[in-house]
Symmetry: C2
Subunit: 301 residues, 2 copies
C-alpha cells in the first residue's frame, strides 16, 4: 500500500503549496482522492500514469478539493484516453462538470461515470475481489465524506516444505490456500492449517478531510493501519475550528488514539503557521505514531 | 505599457508550462487576460497584487483559457476582497461560475459583475477617461474574441519656457493642455500649439488567441503597437490548423505585416515542438519585429 501526497494544504494554491489531492495504490488499484487546482501538474511531476487512475473520490465540494477535476477530465480527453473513469462525489459535481463540457464543446471520448453520494451513514461505494471502499460521513460546513479503503482478506500461503511432505496433489494447492481441507495421495484428510500459513493481514487506509472533531467516525475507522486526519489548526487557534468545522492536531491525535489506528498522518494545514513540526509535536502529546503529510511525499505501508 | 506573460502554451498545464494567462498594465489599469488553470499561482509567483485586478477578459470557453478563474474568484473571497470585479466573457461563463459558487456555498463578499459577450462584430466593452477595450471577433471552433486595449489621446504637454514667456495666467494651463487657445495677461490670443507639445502617442495592444488565420481582424488591429497573435503550429503542421482553427507562426506574421503593427509577440504554442526558436525563425521570414512569449516574461513598451 503506497500513498503519494500531491497536496496537503488548505484553502488556496500557492507557489510552493498545493491544495488537497493524493493517490493511493492498493492491490494494484490507483485511487485518486480529491483533486484541488493543479493536481494534474502534481501527477505529472510525480510521474503517476494518468491511465492507471480509474476511480476518483471527491470528499466534498469546496474548491480546494475539486477545482482541478474539470481540467484533469479535459486533459484525459486531449490525451485520447479510452479507459472508463468513475467519479464518486457529493451530488452536484456531475452538474458542474457536464455544464462545462457542454459549454466548452468538449465531451470526453471515454466513458465517464458519476456516482453521486448523498447518504448520511457509511456505505460501500466500490467493491471488487480485492478491495472495498466505504464512505465515512464527516462533520463539515457542507456535505462531506471521508473514505475507508480496505483490502479484502487474501489467500493463505503454502508452507512449502510441509505441503510437499504431506504428499498432496498440486491440483489441490489452490483449495488449501482458500482454506479448505483436502485429501492427499494416500487418502488422508489434511487439515489446511497444518500445511499453510495465514494470509497477510489485509491493510486499510482511512482518509478524513475536512472535518470537525467527530467521535462518530471511530467505529468506522477502528484499527485501520493508516489514518489521514485533517489538522487545519493548532490548539492555540482551537476557537477557529468551531465556525470552520476543522480540527486541531491534538483532536486528530485523539481520534487516532480512540480508534487505535496504526499510524496517523496529519495534513490540510492552514498556511498561517510557519513550521509543520508544531503539528507533529502537538499530536505526539496524545498519540505516538504521527507522520506529517508533505506535498510530494510518498508513504509506503 | 507592461505585459506580463503568465502562461503561453496551448492545451494542458504541465510541470514547466502554463496554459494561457497574461496581465496587461496600461494607464494604471491592471487587466487580466484569460485565466487557465494555475493562473493564481503564476500571479503570486510574479508578485502581481490581486487587488489591483479589477477587470478580467476571457477570450473563449476552452479550458486552457478559463479553468483557473473559479479558483481565483474563490481565493479573492478567502482573502476578504472588497473591491468590485468585472468579468468580460462569452455567454455561459456566468452560469459556470455561479453554479459552483452555489454548490460550494461560497458566494463572494465583493461585487462580481459578468459582462457576457455574444456580438459577432467588434464592440467597445470597457471605457474610461484613459483607456478603451474593444472586442476582436476571432475565427475559432467556438465563439471567441480577442481584445484590443487602446490608450486614449492624452493631454498635450506644456512647453515650459514658451508658456512662461507668453505671460499666460497659470489658471489657463489646463485649457492649453486640452488643446484650447487662451487669452494672455496682455489680452493677446495665444495659439496653444505655440506653447505646448503634442501628447505622447497613445499606445495599443491587441490580444488574438485562439484563432485561425483571419484577415477580417486586420482593420481592427491596424497599426497597434503590439500584437499578441497565437501561433499554435509551425507551417510543417499547417494541415492541423484546419480542423483545430489555430494559426501557424507564418500566418501570425502575415497578419502582423498586413496590419502594419509595431511588434508581434507569438504564443499559445503546441507542446509538440522542442524549440520555440523555430516559431521565431518562421515568423521572421515574413515580419521582422517578432518576440517570443515565454511563461513569466515581462514586456515593456
Amino acid at each position: 500500500m503506497k500513498l503519494r501526497i500531491l497536496g496537503c494544504y488548505s484553502a488556496t494554491p500557492r507557489v510552493n503549496t498545493n491544495p488537497t489531492a493524493q493517490v493511493l495504490e492498493i492491490n494494484n488499484h490507483l485511487f485518486l482522492i480529491d483533486c484541488g487546482e493543479g493536481t494534474q501538474v502534481q501527477l505529472r511531476k510525480h510521474k503517476v500514469k494518468f491511465n492507471r487512475i480509474k476511480h476518483i473520490f471527491i470528499s466534498h465540494l469546496h474548491g480546494d478539493h475539486f477545482f482541478g477535476l474539470v481540467g484533469f477530465i479535459s486533459t484525459l480527453t486531449l490525451l485520447t484516453r479510452e479507459t472508463d473513469l468513475h467519479i464518486y462525489a457529493p451530488k452536484g459535481l456531475k452538474e458542474i462538470i457536464t455544464l462545462q463540457m457542454k459549454l466548452t464543446g468538449s465531451w470526453t471520448n471515454y466513458k465517464l461515470f458519476f456516482h453521486e453520494l448523498n447518504a448520511k451513514t457509511s456505505e460501500i461505494i466500490f467493491e471488487d475481489d480485492t478491495v472495498e471502499v466505504h464512505t465515512i460521513p464527516l462533520d463539515h460546513r457542507i456535505y462531506t465524506n471521508g473514505f475507508l479503503f480496505k483490502e479484502k482478506e487474501g489467500e493463505r500461503k503454502l508452507d512449502l516444505s510441509k505441503v510437499e511432505e504431506a504428499n498432496i496433489n498440486v491440483a489441490y494447492y489452490r483449495k488449501l490456500k482458500q482454506g479448505h481441507d483436502v485429501v492427499n495421495e494416500d487418502d488422508v484428510l489434511i487439515d489446511h492449517t497444518k500445511v499453510t500459513l495465514p494470509a497477510n493481514p489485509p491493510k486499510s487506509y482511512a482518509y478524513c478531510s475536512d472535518t470537525a472533531y467527530s467521535e462518530s467516525i471511530i467505529p468506522i475507522i477502528k484499527e485501520v493501519n493508516v489514518l489521514y486526519h485533517e489538522s487545519t489548526f493548532l490548539e492555540k487557534n482551537k476557537n477557529l475550528t468551531i465556525t470552520t468545522k476543522h480540527s486541531t492536531a491534538k483532536q486528530a491525535a485523539t481520534i487516532a488514539l480512540k480508534a487505535n489506528v496504526g499510524t496517523l498522518i496529519l495534513g490540510h494545514y492552514s498556511t498561517r503557521y510557519e513550521s509543520l513540526n508544531d503539528f507533529k509535536k502537538e499530536a505526539k502529546t496524545i498519540f505516538d505514531k504521527v507522520e506529517l503529510a508533505k506535498d510530494g511525499k510518498l508513504f509506503e505501508f
